[in-house]
């Protein structure tokens, strides 16, 4: 008799429904935004220190990698915000059915896409 206990828990064998992908992205974007906050606070602090500090921010943000990071941060922040508003609307009792939840999830994604393009145009 094998005393070891097993569970069927292998994420590669589970089909994730669309609404769960919306939810996972919400969580991941939240973690990502949270992790980038110290970096932004550092830049903010430098920008407020003196005119030399402010000038050096321009140099930092001129670097493509930091500019892409800033873009990713704002896109993640936008998605986290739009998906959060979706939950607030559902908490008010609207769109709690599966069909509406799928539609509102897709709307949050589309708005994020537009937001990402707009931020991209603004940054470059």
């Amino acid at each position: 008799m094998n005393k070891q206990r097993f569970m069927n828990f292998d994420l590669t064998t589970i089909r994730l429904p669309f609404t769960s992908i919306i939810s996972i992205l919400h969580r991941l974007s939240g973690i990502f935004v949270f992790l980038l906050i110290p970096f932004l606070l550092y830049i903010f602090d430098m920008a407020l220190s003196d005119s030399d500090g402010f000038a050096s921010i321009g140099a930092i943000l001129g670097n493509p990698i930091s500019r892409i990071s800033l873009w990713l941060f704002l896109v993640a922040l936008g998605y986290h915000f739009f998906a959060g508003v979706r939950h607030l609307i559902m908490d008010m009792g609207f769109g709690e059915g599966l069909k509406n939840a799928r539609t509102s999830g897709a709307v949050a994604l589309v708005i994020t896409l537009v937001w990402a393009l707009w931020i991209g145009v603004w940054l470059w």
């Binding site: 069927n8 828990f9 589970i14 089909r15 429904p17 769960s20 939950h87 009792g93 599966l98």
Partner: protein, 232 residues
């Protein structure tokens, strides 16, 4: 048609493995997955699974079919892409093959006190409800406790013991909605901690997989609304 089935016998196997079987499924057949499993059991009698009513009423044959939890008796083979992969319900201890341990699931069910509570003197006949009051139970009372939802809920994966899970909470909502039940305040107070209800993130996996087309996510939102109304 090829079926790939999760096998594990604790008496002989060191660990679970997948085993392939071939079943002749005639073109345009209306065979359900449960029938296919019975044909496979004719080939290999060591295969274990639970089934009883064969028509989606008893809730015995919940399993993970091609990645989604469903009832084998209500899932037509023709609706699935081959090879058909059948695994036990997700995140539940496997007893043997597709048979899983429901102990924790029923403990969660028990926590919500799934029975009518009313300490008032019973009337001579029955406790009456208006048709509207009765209609408030629709979409809540039909649950057959197959565990497809709770076993597919990421919040239950994270907190299987502290979060009650969609099935138990659907039953909590069913008795909260019942005008004959007088324990509403106590029921809400029992669910007040940060885990029992509030681990639900409205991911809606429960609603996607429910074989009775119920919406546990909306029922849980209903419980939260009642908590706000009661100011608790």
């Amino acid at each position: 048609m090829r079926f790939s089935i999760y096998r594990y016998n604790p008496e002989t196997d060191a660990k679970p493995y997948m085993k392939d079987y071939e079943v002749d499924v005639p073109h345009d057949s209306d065979m359900m997955v449960l029938q296919a499993l019975m044909l496979i059991k004719d080939q290999d009698e060591t295969l274990s699974f639970r089934a009883s009513c064969r028509e989606g009423v008893c809730g015995s044959d919940g399993m993970n079919i091609n990645g989604l939890n469903r009832l084998a008796c209500l899932t037509p083979v023709s609706s699935l892409k081959a090879p058909i992969t059948i695994r036990p319900l997700v995140n539940m201890t496997v007893i043997r093959d597709l048979v899983v341990d429901f102990t924790l699931f029923f403990q969660q069910y028990e926590k919500v006190q799934p029975y009518l509570q009313n300490h008032a003197e019973p009337p001579a006949t029955e406790r009456l409800q208006s048709p509207e009051e009765r209609a408030a139970l629709d979409g809540l009372y039909e649950c057959i406790l197959c565990a497809c939802c709770t076993s597919f809920c990421p919040s239950s994966w994270w907190n299987p013991e502290k979060f009650i899970g969609p099935a138990g909470l659907l039953w909590a909502a069913r008795f909260l909605a019942d005008t004959r039940d007088t324990a509403t305040e106590e029921r809400l107070a029992n669910l007040q901690d940060p885990f029992s209800v509030y681990r639900c993130r409205t991911i809606m996996n429960c609603t996607v997989v429910c074989p009775k087309n119920l919406n546990p996510a909306a029922a849980i939102a209903g419980i939260r609304h009642k908590m706000v109304e009661k100011g608790s």
